[in-house]
């Protein structure tokens, strides 16, 4: 932020401001500029490296393949990563509660603020998209039908896609604001983000499979509905300009450009006034929605009734349980981080179940070998991801400084708080997800015969839920929100998926070879032992000093 000698324009100042805020995070405590250890910028660098690596691995599998297939794959995956990134960042960037008091009385228009914020989102999106497609630029040159222009054309189509993706999400926010108003915006923003995240994962998962199923020769003439996929529009650009150049590719390229222009025009032009209204109303006190008081009473009744009253005998755990439940249901900031973060993860096992179901149709158990029902067992084991992710995310809040209350209270360590939060997450997130998975397994035609395969995952659930609590780290709402943008979390999730995969493989083999009950008994013993050790460790945790 070294200012030049003449004053920069307000637009430039705002863009630089929002980029700085994005990279450093919006809140800090006790940090010096030079040694801000939790700078989002350094994490972003790490994320760019990871993106580059993952993108390279994916692109290398397409050496010498047709341009459209490679581009469709790259654009599909870029859409997944960008969609999830923009969906999770847009809420905080676009609607920050403190911002109104700082900027709204300055001589800048809401439109200028919107443009500056969008500029930052697009800029960071382009970095991510660029890192992800880095290898793809070169791999495209190995295709027999392409020529040297591919890296340039693919860079342009990727930039268009980044603009389209960002514009779509901003537009969804603004339309929610316009149609449903401030009172319902919070819930709708969460829902919109959930759908964007789920949609992005679906496109990312289904796109590559479609490519594989059509023998890497996907064309609109063969698969007409492919033109409905946004990633296909931008792949069409690549194919039109430096691939086959056929008519369908040109049509899709045209659709892509028209869609991008329309979305940008709506998001940044027509709906800018709605954004101004949204900013104004963000700081206004609003009356509580109807039914909120009733919801609170419902939770109170639940906590006082068996079995929860047996489970929450300690008053601190009970208070923590109620606090977590209230924030899971009411707080815009928590909901915007929690549900869009979890929903795309939940889609994965459902896709897995669908695939498992399809592969079993017409295939005898003999052909399936010992892995018949693996998808069901994996879904159960995958449940552990929910408390892990949720307990990680519930620690962050815009009101994190209020978390000092826990340290002021006569509580020797964070253990009882973690207990309450853990139980709330298991009750309100893991249990409903288990029911959804079970219903899904039942409806997919397996009936109740394979439902027991969910049990190994259920048994392991308490262990998964204790992992984020180790050292007393899962204190609810006690950390600033920018620390939630952690690349490390993604890596730990990959670890959980691997363990879930192994657990599911063991359970499936045991199921198919007739020693399932012995497997369960062994798992119960291991779980109880591990649980006891982890609980003892958690009980001994003490408050860490505040930096």
């Amino acid at each position: 932020m070294n200012a030049p000698s003449s004053p920069p324009s307000p637009a430039r100042t705002l863009r630089r401001l929002f980029l700085t805020l994005f990279l450093r995070g919006r809140t800090s405590r006790g940090l010096r500029k030079a040694s801000a250890p939790k700078s989002v910028g350094s994490k972003l660098t790490f994320i760019l490296v990871i993106y580059g690596f993952v993108g390279s691995m994916m692109a290398l599998g397409f050496m010498g393949k047709p341009v459209f297939s490679l581009s469709l794959y790259l654009h599909s995956m870029t859409l997944v990563f960008l969609g999830m990134f923009v969906a999770s960042s847009a809420g905080e960037v676009l609607f920050n509660k403190d911002e109104a008091d700082i900027l709204m009385h300055r001589p800048v228009t809401a439109r200028a603020m919107l443009w500056a914020k969008i500029g930052v989102l697009v800029e960071v999106s382009l970095w991510l998209a660029g890192a992800f497609n880095l290898a793809g630029f070169l791999v495209g040159l190995t295709s027999a039908e392409t020529w040297w222009l591919y890296p340039i054309v693919h860079a342009i189509s990727t930039a268009c896609q980044a603009l389209f993706c960002t514009g779509c999400i901003v537009m969804i926010y603004q339309l929610c604001l316009r149609w449903f108003g401030r009172e319902r915006l919070d819930g709708l923003m969460t829902t919109a983000q959930v759908f964007v995240g789920v949609g992005a994962v679906l496109v990312g998962q289904l796109g590559p499979q479609l490519i594989g199923r059509t023998g890497l020769k996907m064309e609109v003439a063969n698969v007409w509905w492919i033109c409905l996929l946004p990633s296909a529009w931008f792949a069409g650009m690549d194919d039109a300009l430096c691939g086959t150049g056929n008519r369908s590719s040109w049509i899709m390229a045209g659709v892509g450009l028209a869609a991008t222009a329309t979305v940008l025009g709506l998001a940044f032009g027509k709906l800018a006034r709605d954004y101004e209204m949204g900013l104004q109303t963000l700081n206004e006190a609003s009356s509580a929605p109807r039914g909120r008081a009733g919801r609170r009473r419902w939770i109170d009744v639940l906590v006082k009734a068996p079995p929860l009253c047996w489970w929450l005998r300690d008053s601190i755990s009970r208070a923590s349980f109620l606090l977590t439940a209230a924030y899971l249901m009411r707080d815009r900031d928590v909901k915007l981080r929690m549900y869009p973060g979890i929903a795309p993860m939940l889609v994965m096992p459902l896709i897995f179940l669908l695939q498992g179901n399809r592969s079993q149709q017409g295939v005898s158990p003999h052909v399936m070998g010992g892995f018949d029902g693996y998808a069901v067992a994996f879904s159960g084991a995958y449940l552990g991801l929910i408390p892990m992710l949720a307990l990680n995310l519930i620690r962050y809040s815009q009101q994190w400084q209020a978390g000092d209350l826990f340290r002021v209270a006569p509580i020797i360590g964070p253990s009882p708080l973690c207990d309450g939060t853990r139980r709330a997450i298991l009750c309100f997130l893991a249990l409903p997800a288990l029911v959804v998975f079970a219903v899904f397994v039942y409806l997919l035609g397996r009936g109740s015969s394979q439902l027991p395969l969910l049990i190994p995952g259920i048994i392991a659930l308490p262990i998964y839920a204790l992992v984020p609590c180790i050292g007393g780290k899962a204190v609810p709402l006690s950390l600033p929100t920018e620390e939630a943008k952690s690349a490390g979390r993604g890596l730990s999730m990959i670890g959980v998926m691997l363990i879930s995969g192994l657990l599911a493989a063991g359970a499936t083999l045991a199921w198919n070879y007739g020693w399932f009950k012995w497997f369960l008994m062994g798992e119960i013993i291991v779980t109880i032992t591990t649980y006891a050790i982890m609980r003892a460790s958690l009980a001994g945790a003490r408050w860490e000093p505040i930096d």
Binding site: M1, A3, P4, S5, S6, P7, P8, P10, T13, L14, R16, L17, T20, L21, R24, G25, R26, T27, S28, R29, G30, L31, R32, K33, A34, A36, D98, E99, A100, D101, I102, L103, M104, H105, R106, P107, V108, T109, Q280, N283, E284, A285, S286, S287, E482
Partner: protein, 259 residues
């Protein structure tokens, strides 16, 4: 005398809830207006409307002759505002924050730096702290000083203060009170909203008390106190806003703490 703030039938409603109801008043140049009311009376909403942060539902207002609805940007260029929240971007250093604010008002860098140095000297801030530490690490008082500086940096003719003394130590508060009195003598118009009534009584030339969005009284503090036979502004305030029983209620409540 030129009226710097002119408010006519200003209203703000949220659905059926009325926050500000048909408020009208004028403030001439060089006057310090105390803007008082109990919690939820509509003070902050009024200030936010007058600084262009919120659109009024009804009525009009002009600031320095600029229409609040039609010339919002001009109004914003001519006002400074210290919001009650004292919000800042915590991940900027104090200097970065003030330079950012200066750029939004198109103040050249050299002029901005010189002005910032003047404020640093006045508020006894260290330049190293301002350049090195992020605002999130500042004490509440230091942060408030930065917010006050950011409101005055562009030398606005009209300044709105919403609880400006919150977090300031006694010396800084004394200095600040002297500052706004001097600024008013130099011709600036100041609207001062606070719950610290004895300060308002000493500093302000004129006082407005509102409740439930409506104007209750408007006049010089000593005249208002005399006309209502209240003794002090605090008594007048509690008399008008229904706080007369507070002493007895506080005593009754304190008795519940007896072992």
């Amino acid at each position: 005398m030129r009226q710097m703030i002119s408010v006519k039938s200003l209203s703000k409603t949220y659905g059926s809830q009325v926050a500000v109801n048909d408020l009208s008043f004028e403030v001439p140049a060089g006057q310090i207006l105390g803007f008082l009311g109990p919690n939820g009376a509509g003070k902050s909403t009024t200030l936010k409307m007058l600084t262009g942060m919120l659109d009024p539902t009804g009525g009009t207002a002009t600031i320095c002759g600029f229409d609040l609805r039609q010339q919002t940007l001009e109004v914003k260029r001519h006002v400074g505002f210290v919001p009650e929240s004292g919000a800042v971007f915590e991940s900027l250093t104090g200097l970065e924050y003030l330079e950012m604010v200066a750029a939004l008002y198109a103040i050249p860098e050299e002029a901005a730096r010189a002005r910032i140095r003047q404020f640093i000297a006045f508020f006894d801030l260290s330049f190293e702290t301002l350049t090195d530490k992020l605002l999130g690490a500042y004490s509440k008082g230091m942060r408030r000083k930065v917010v006050i500086t950011s409101a005055l940096l562009h030398n606005p003719p009209v300044v709105f203060f919403d609880e400006p003394l919150d977090g300031l130590d006694a010396n800084a508060a004394v200095g600040f009170k002297a500052l706004i009195q001097t600024l008013a003598r130099e011709g600036k118009t100041i609207v001062y909203s606070s719950h610290i009534l004895d300060v308002v009584e000493r500093v302000c030339d004129r006082v407005i008390i509102i409740d439930k969005g409506r104007l209750l009284v408007d006049g010089r503090p000593e005249e208002l106190v005399a006309s209502h036979g209240s003794g002090t502004l605090e008594h007048l305030f509690t008399q008008l806003t229904g706080g007369g029983e507070l002493q007895r209620r506080a005593e009754d409540f304190a008795k519940t703490f007896r072992p």
